[in-house]
């Protein structure tokens, strides 16, 4: 216990040092550029951030965007897992899914926004976009992860007629986990990036995207940076939570039998 606590503190020390390092770089850069309009200084941004925190509307915006983007993310995770698993089991599914996956990965938002907006209200555009951004990452990593599962263990499971559920939990999941973690780590950031971008297009009122857009449009650099930091903080917080949940599940799986 003590060891873990100690390690946690050292871990955080490293992280804080890294963040401080980059803030210093930022400060130096902003001094070098010398124009608040282009590159606001850390202090100015902290001020703007503090100002935001005290607004009631700020928390509304955060909740509004958070709920939608996170919804898209979880839908993508769920769909990615299910589709990845189905694709692995059936060649037909894999081939049928190949073209739409390519389309999802490749088609620029500009192309399908007209069609998308027929079916989706611009309020929910961020759900859709965050979903579409994360889905192919999860799907592709799932497929690779399942394929890289140890064949010898699967043969063993076949001989011993290990029930499908147990096979999933104790053979597939440990093998797929690193791929899944990588997909989540990438997807968690991307869903924010793309979800907010969708809000910048759709501008639903009381969304982070709308506030960000306003800040950009009127060259309110301090606020622009402050909102960006808010997005990053939420994203990191969200990533931490999800990763912790994943590792928790992973540990539970490993502790089976003891």
């Amino acid at each position: 216990m003590m060891g873990k606590l100690k390690r946690d503190i050292t871990d955080n020390r490293y992280k804080i040092a890294a963040v401080l390092f980059w803030i210093t770089v930022w400060q130096v850069l902003s001094m070098a550029v010398g124009r608040e309009m282009l590159l606001a200084s850390p202090f100015a941004v902290m001020g703007a951030l503090w100002g935001l925190f005290r607004e009631a509307e700020f928390w509304q915006s955060v909740m509004y965007s958070f709920s939608r983007i996170v919804l898209g993310f979880f839908m993508a995770i769920a769909a990615g897992i299910v589709l990845g698993a189905c694709s692995h089991r059936s060649r037909l599914v894999r081939e049928i899914l190949a073209p739409p996956m390519v389309i999802i990965k490749t088609t620029p938002v500009a192309s399908f926004i007209i069609i998308a907006l027929i079916w989706v209200h611009s309020k929910n555009l961020s759900v859709l976009i965050s979903f579409l951004m994360v889905l192919p990452v999860v799907y592709s990593n799932m497929l690779q992860g399942i394929q890289s599962t140890d064949q010898k263990l699967l043969e063993m499971a076949k001989v011993f007629r290990v029930p499908r559920m147990k096979k999933m939990i104790y053979i597939y999941i440990p093998a797929v986990m690193p791929y899944f973690i990588s997909a989540c780590s990438v997807g968690l950031g991307f869903c924010w990036k793309s979800g907010i971008a969708a809000e910048v297009i759709g501008l639903p009122s009381r969304s982070i995207g709308a506030r960000l857009y306003e800040a950009k449009l009127y060259l309110m650099t301090k606020e622009l940076f402050a909102w960006t930091i808010v997005i990053i903080i939420i994203s990191v917080f969200f990533e931490k939570t999800v990763m912790r949940a994943i590792h928790f599940v992973e540990r539970r799986v490993k502790r089976y039998g003891s």
């Binding site: 608040e36 926004i113 007209i114 611009s122 501008l203 306003e214 950009k216 449009l217 009127y218 060259l219």
Partner: protein
Amino acid sequence: SEGGNGDTASEKTTAETGNEETGEEETGQAEKMDISIAGLKGATSIGMVKMMEVAANGEAANNYKFKVAGTADEISAALVKGEIDIAAVPCNLASVLYNKTEGGIMLAGINTLNVLYVIETGMSVSSVEDLKGRTVYSTGKGTTPEYTLNYLLQSNGIDPASDLTIEYKAEATEVASILSSSEDAIAVLPQPYVTTVMMSNDKVRIAIDIQEEWDKISNDGSGIVTGVVVVRKDFLEENQEAVDAFLEEYKDSAAYVNENAGDAAALVEKFEIFKADVTEKAIPLCNITFIGGDEMKEKVSGYLEVLFGQNPNSVGGKMPGDDFYYLKK
């Protein structure tokens, strides 16, 4: 001291220009200087196409290098960097840039007045009053179209939040798709999207010219100002003559565009600003002009005041001071 600064910098510029002319002898007056000019794709750049053509043929007073940017961001960045000397930008952006650069940007003229129109597929709207209780589709949430529309509604005693529903769509194309699928939809769109929509859907007609409604409620000489020409202050102080010459040529160009919509539209397409067929129909409705001097100041300050009242951020947090306006003597 300002003049002194200007002088030294001016010398430097001349020297640089000399270098760029690849060793050509400095020949005083006859020498043309390089000026970088930028405009946005869309209505605010249409007025200068003739000048672009003239410059391309080498017949302009100076060497104009035009750039048509996709987004205002690009122009903002380039102005700040000093890569661009003169730019045609939306009116409020000029004020924002002025504030954010602490007066580094000056306003030289208005190039586009109102471009906003109320359009509909039915026959039910002929005045602002008629919008009461209806659903209106628009674009440009959080930008000048919203503030302009809100001001207009409020001035007519209509509360934009409760007396009607305004649905802001992400893109003009989205509004177009709604118009095409509804028998009596109302929308507020800027030119040349209005014309684009009308050309792809013949049921759409213009119901209200927002400028006319504006004129009804304000008699202070203000007006809707969509596009303006701005100059970098540094550049202006160093090259006042060249800027004046530019503005003269701009005026001619705007006049030419208004008189020869067809030829101008071809140029608009040539310079990749917009498509010719749409532009030709749109030009008469785009209120392309060139206004400088006190009239400019009056119109712009009145309009910025309105925007400021709606959202101070939209003009950069505070109203620009008098040094914002370049009033040529």
